[in-house]
Symmetry: C2
Subunit: 343 residues, 2 copies
């Protein structure tokens, strides 16, 4: 009976209790602070090392700062949090594990590449709706310098970027969720399947992930019986310029017009032309900082009432690329509303 209230069939569940996003915090680097969303971020750091000795330690420091800031804004102690769901792009997710080392919060480690913010929000909200917690947290990060070193080349190599390349954002975001609060509220979760249409170019992640975004968004509309018009904004994160075009085209072929109500966090975060960012931003932290900054602020101001947040991840590694594999993509979708609209 409980199940009938929650499962909408396919890949979607409704959260009758609609857990609230009580507080958000984020931090970005210098490059992100030059973009159009600069005023929406809590903190723009001129120091890419965030006072640390290595890029990896810098990324952990970013997560520490946003978690502490989000906890402080929520007016709670860390001990109030029953669970934190978090992860990052680094090998063995060390950005997260070293950030959480002093935290004393029960921790479920995730790996969803750039879909991590949507994946962590999904599970953090479901834990509350499932009756396991009153307070949970969701968090992720990325850092341009850790990602370049690990996925491509050390910065010192000075390699040229291809026209379809995206720029890994130096950014982190955290959200505190609760069964109480004034919203916005998480009302639905549509969980992604792995989708791989055979793209093997690791410098064209947008094209690799776009089919996954299309698949999960389509499932969300089918499962809920909603059309894109049900949302003021549908936002993927982070497909970049080309991936956004592909998603728009795929829906257009189905006769569904996303124009005017669809955007992408990787497109929003930079002024692509002035900043010469090629296809735009990427990295777990990009959609995390755009959601916990600009998007939630727009919701608080009432300018966005219903948001469909679609985190997209490319589940490759340098090893799989070297072995000639194509790039599996995944997209997790979370519906967020200024009104509690559960069952």
């Amino acid at each position: 009976m409980l199940l009938e209230t929650k499962r909408m069939g396919g890949q979607t569940v409704r959260l009758p209790s609609a857990p609230a996003i009580v507080s958000c915090a984020n931090v970005v680097g210098n490059q992100e602070g030059k973009g159009p969303l600069r005023d929406s971020f809590d903190c723009v750091s001129e120091d890419s090392l965030f006072g640390q000795k290595t890029w990896e330690q810098a990324e952990s420091e970013m997560q520490k700062r946003v978690l502490n800031a989000a906890i402080a804004k929520a007016g709670i102690d860390a001990a109030t949090l029953s669970y934190i769901f978090a992860g990052d792009l680094l090998n063995q997710c060390i950005g997260t594990s070293f950030a959480l080392r002093p935290s004393e919060i029960p921790f479920f480690g995730l790996y969803g590449a750039c879909s991590t913010m949507a994946e962590s929000l999904s599970l953090a909200a479901m834990m509350i709706d499932g009756g396991f917690a009153n307070w949970t947290a969701a968090m992720t990060s990325s850092h341009f310098c850790t990602a370049e070193r690990q996925y491509r080349n050390p910065l010192e190599y000075g390699n040229q970027r291809t026209p379809t390349a995206q720029w890994t954002a130096t950014a982190a975001g955290a959200a505190i969720l609760s069964n109480e609060g004034n919203g916005p509220y998480i009302t639905h979760v549509t969980t992604g399947k792995i989708v791989d249409w055979g793209i093997a170019d690791a410098n064209n992640m947008g094209a690799a992930m776009a089919p996954a975004a299309y698949q999960t968004l389509r499932a969300h509309f089918a499962d809920t019986g909603r059309t894109p018009e049900a949302y003021d904004l549908i936002v993927t994160g982070d497909l970049g310029v080309l991936g956004k075009e592909i998603v728009t085209d795929l829906f257009a072929k189905d006769g569904v017009n996303l124009m005017g109500r669809y955007d992408d966090c990787g497109v929003l975060i930079y002024d692509n032309e002035k900043q010469d960012m090629h296809c735009g931003g990427s990295g777990c932290g990009c959609s995390a900082a755009v959601l916990t900054g600009y998007l939630v602020q727009e919701m608080k101001k009432g300018r966005i009432k219903r948001l469909l947040f679609a985190g997209t991840g490319a589940l490759l590694s340098p090893t799989s690329s070297q072995q000639g594999e194509s790039i599996p993509g995944i997209c997790h979708v979370v519906a967020i509303s200024t009104e509690r609209e559960g069952a």
Copy 2:
């Protein structure tokens, strides 16, 4: 009200519906097939490549096989599964993402190092108890050759292993969970915090993870009001010989005697002396194969009625070790019983 039924305070929740482990499947390599548990595994493969071209593809193939086998044993279609929770040790968890590429099952990617089987079981069970699904799956794997290449040296290098080193098991295990079934049942979940007592020797993982096992097990006993005597067997996975000794000692100092009811999957899987395995087995697949093989079979036979399964993970990477960091550990605990014993 729901929360009061489920939360036991601290790090533990009780699952009133006690989801059942409906079916299990596993596969191991040649080395594991020479150990004392050989008859408990579904399949011992003489071919470490599992018919594939690379070790990474072999690891994915292992996950594919155990998932398909577990689904077949449960008598369901893959489409019946609402969620799969899975992950592995590889960079960006490619063992799992490439295994699940053809599966069409909504997928939450996890990174918990060798705690992954306990982490995935925790979340798979909570999703059912929370009313989000009737059927879920939990899965993980490890492969000696992928792990050596990634964490230590390529096999061709032929390096010597230190006395405290553990042997990454070539093994995979999957479990299918449901709200129906004859058990065994998952009754409690105690979620770990990161614990780091400053061990920095990447060849002594048992010592690095033992404090986390001690912390979460202690929390489980405190939260539930139970003593170790409530369980026929408490099993960590995978601390190896030295880690097991440390956990036993830490509890002994508290006046708690674990002797006779405590063991470790990394100790159980090999005949350490005959097979010259130094401190025993490790790797996500070790505890996954021991749980889905020997342990669940012992429960089905009634020889173990109450099992406390404690997955332990070392959340380091080669990069963090090279940067001189110590090793953060985590331990997730799942209580499994032949009887439904919910709220």
